[in-house]
Symmetry: C2
Subunit: 527 residues, 2 copies
């Protein structure tokens, strides 16, 4: 059940007079619930509560925070089909996807809980004293990670569960010990409200301070800007467009006290199809890629939007196969009329560029908000000379760049902007002929894949979801996997601090039994 109100800590609040509704793209109707946009007063209340909550929440033990995260997972599951139904009504996504994404979200929450219970994420580092050292005695110094302070999380349009209210940004920030203020995504305000209710219930049941979580409704950009400029906010997580992410980054950088913004933004996810792979496996790869390009109606940040190959008969056949396979896929519903509107507009802009050939463009009648997939091709030189072709078209669209040779292919890669992923499709034995191509691709991406598809971002410690700008605002961090917590913490050193007053992680006795880096060696021992 939703009320359309904001969550300011444990209280519901709706002081504003600006309201909006969400849209059911499958039925192509507005949903009934009106949501009340947060006012400046409510924004300030949420940040003030978060700052106050930080004083106690930042001191909660790993075990206490783990219990909180597991309780959130339980409360989300306890909402059962009602939550799945509202998710579907606000996204048009099928039930299987809704449940799968919920499972992923639960998995993320429990993986951060497990990380907290295990303890080594804190990078506890101890250098013991040597007071007899000449000429200057060596003091005892101990370091561990501490949370930054209140974090603002912007919900993503395309993952209402996994990258929004209780998604990876929120889970990692709470794991770090940072209170979270979620700026709810307007396209799924009801889903966000219900998930917020789950988080608040979990916070109350596990004795977390009031203000550890708030959820603010917002249909425009004002609430987000007020949050990012608020002096009480210490970091920002965002998943969305380059324009949106860069705007937040700029605002944060211009503050009197600049704060980090981790924005995971656009990517065309280049795929390099090497000649032997095109020759030996072109048809199978075409089928696989028709599926990857249209997965979730092409609304994944890792959708392969750019395929680079070298002119050959096999490449031509691959393009034909890909084109014929992709039009076999049943068109599906995009998330919102605005999103399909942008898709049609951006696809059209691409199609109108000189030198582009359309190989597939689904032409049959489709239901409202359903996207027509398309495959286009372009010569390497044309691509190099027109940066409009380098931009992401969010939706089931991909472009094959036909290069004259490996040199041109490498040149194309070197002229791409930073990307989340890059993929090499090749036979093992031909890889050695393309080492500079592989090197060039590595230099532009955060994750490189061999003979696979970039869609499907496994949640595991070795995952890097991020990459050089503009795929993210800071390539030094990941948005997926337990290391996502590193965005919200800073190292802190205690010098000559009394053992009994040190946090448990750094005490001589090592009461938590965690792995620590002691005098240059990993150790679980007591000091």
């Amino acid at each position: 059940m939703t009320t359309g109100e904001n969550h300011i800590g444990n209280q519901r609040s709706s002081k504003g007079n600006k309201t909006y509704t969400t849209h059911n793209p499958k039925l192509n109707i507005e949903n009934e619930q009106f949501f009340t946009e947060a006012t400046s007063e409510e924004i300030n209340q949420a940040v003030d509560l978060a700052s106050e909550a930080f004083k106690t929440f930042s001191k909660k033990s790993g075990q206490e925070k783990a219990t909180f995260l597991r309780a959130i997972a339980d409360e989300i599951l306890a909402m059962g089909d009602e939550l799945i139904a509202i998710y579907q009504s606000e996204t048009g996504l099928p039930e299987g996807r809704a449940k799968g994404e919920r499972g992923r979200t639960i998995g993320q929450l429990t993986s951060f809980a497990a990380m907290l219970e295990e303890g080594s994420w804190l990078d506890a580092t101890i250098d013991t004293a040597d007071l007899d050292r000449a000429p200057i005695p060596k003091q005892d110094i101990r370091k561990m990670m501490v949370p930054l302070g209140p974090v603002v999380v912007f919900g993503a349009s395309n993952f209402p569960f996994a990258y929004s209210t209780a998604g990876g940004d929120t889970a990692s920030a709470l794991a770090a010990g940072c209170p979270v203020i979620c700026k709810s995504h307007p396209m799924h305000a009801g889903t966000s409200e219900m998930v917020s209710e789950a988080i608040i219930r979990a916070a109350q049941k596990t004795n977390m301070p009031n203000g550890v979580f708030s959820n603010l409704n917002s249909s425009g950009i004002e609430v987000g800007i007020e949050l990012v400029t608020h002096p009480g906010v210490k970091a920002v997580g965002f998943t969305g467009s380059i324009k949106g992410g860069r705007a937040l980054y700029d605002i944060a950088a211009q503050r009197e006290e600049p704060i980090p913004v981790f924005a995971e933004m656009g990517s065309v996810n280049p795929v390099v199809l090497l000649p032997n792979a095109a020759e030996y496996r072109g048809e199978a790869l075409a089928k696989t890629y028709a599926g990857s390009i249209t997965l979730g109606t092409g609304q994944f940040c890792t959708k392969p939007g750019l395929i680079l190959g070298i002119k050959s008969e096999s490449l031509t056949q691959f393009i034909d196969s890909l084109s014929s396979e992709i039009v076999k896929v049943e068109p599906s519903c995009m998330l919102h009329p605005h999103i399909i509107g942008n898709y049609e507009k951006n696809k059209q802009i691409a199609l109108e560029q000189d030198g582009l050939t359309v190989h597939a463009d689904y032409q049959n009648e489709v239901a409202a908000n359903h996207a027509r997939q398309a495959i286009v091709t372009v010569e390497g030189e044309t691509f190099l000379n027109n940066t409009t072709l380098h931009q992401e078209v969010f939706g089931p669209f991909s472009m094959v760049v036909v290069c004259n040779d490996a040199t041109e292919l490498e040149n194309v890669i070197n002229h791409l902007e930073g990307q989340l992923t890059g993929t090499i499709l090749g036979e093992n034995e031909e890889l050695q002929n393309y080492t500079t191509v592989v090197d060039a691709l590595q230099n532009r991406v955060g994750r490189i894949i061999f003979n696979g598809v970039p869609t499907g971002v496994e949640v595991c410690p070795a995952m890097l979801h991020g990459g050089p700008y503009p795929s993210s605002t800071d390539s030094r961090f990941t948005a997926v996997g337990i290391h996502a917590v590193n965005r919200w913490v800073r190292p802190f050193s205690y010098q000559s601090w009394p053992n009994e007053l040190l946090p448990n992680e750094l005490k001589d006795e090592n009461p938590l039994g965690i792995t620590r880096f002691v005098n240059g060696q990993n150790s679980k021992d007591k000091i």
Copy 2:
């Protein structure tokens, strides 16, 4: 021997027509060597060479880079007394300090070499495949740190060896696999040139690519701005003033591709003197602090510039002792006429503020460029209402804030900007009465010290040298200790990558024998 030229990779170059000299503050004369400022052409050459060098340098093994760093240390030592003499002629610092700082610099280089040889800094993380997993097979994913690209290092005025040409920023960037372009500090251009020569010799002897290191002369801000705006530059290290660091941060944030700037800037390093410590140990602490405030003529970024106490007879006695001790210290030479000029100006601005009482102000005749130390006091409320008093006075100056009670003291801490360090001087048993004071201080600093002095930044893994803004531009990183390398690297994931093509760090066989995080457990085993 110096020539006044720039090092553009392995070549010397002096195409410009703008020259400048350095100053001997002790003799109060200009040194003879003219240095030629780098031109735009030379800046572009250095960055292009660095970008080219990155292709091979980024692939050097840890062992190769360690050999390079150790060779730099050897070449610096081989320069012997000539290097010490030029250092002294450009800083006015005594021989003992010059040699001590050289030792620290050598220690930094070798500690990064040891880190490279040990290998666990790369955070090698492996999640092996489970292709039978339902519904989606789990792919093999492996992650490790890779270098960002060419790094620009700005030499610091106050540490010509340890935080300049071959200092912590350069050593950590080279360890990461990033070529370095040093913007030489104009006050010690000769020292920088000689150290650059040592680096270049080491690079040549150990087969590092041309362009792995360049050194550019610059007397103004133009060279630095051109470097930070150059698209080939991927990160920046800076140690200096808040004004300078913030300007570079702003320029970098406004680039089309923003890049990280790690600037270690100003700090007043608050010290809290608790009542029992003042009562039992006030006189001893006064002696210790007179030494810490005047160490290196107060030109350390961790100089204690602010002492906070609670009004009492003991505090008055501490202030009297500190004042009488500090004027016993023989005045010493500051680094440059500009620096002592700023010291005298900023001290005067402080002294002219309403409500300030001067307790010590050295009045005897001093030699040219020698600084007169001073101790002033102010009431808590006056301090709170005048943010001019919160600013760093770089030099042998410190301010004691006399608070009415613990609440006011905590309030003062909460109104301070971010700091590198905070210190608590107290008896163990009284700490429990001041937990909120300690918490407040922790929240404002990067390192907290118990019953010690903030000066003396130990080079060890547990050290955090950095802190909340404006003590640094990003509290999530340190400028000292092996973890300083984290500023210049990004995590990178390989998915389903052929074992034989993986870097050694991630190969099944673990040929380097490093500790890796494999399927959620630390392990040195083969896969």
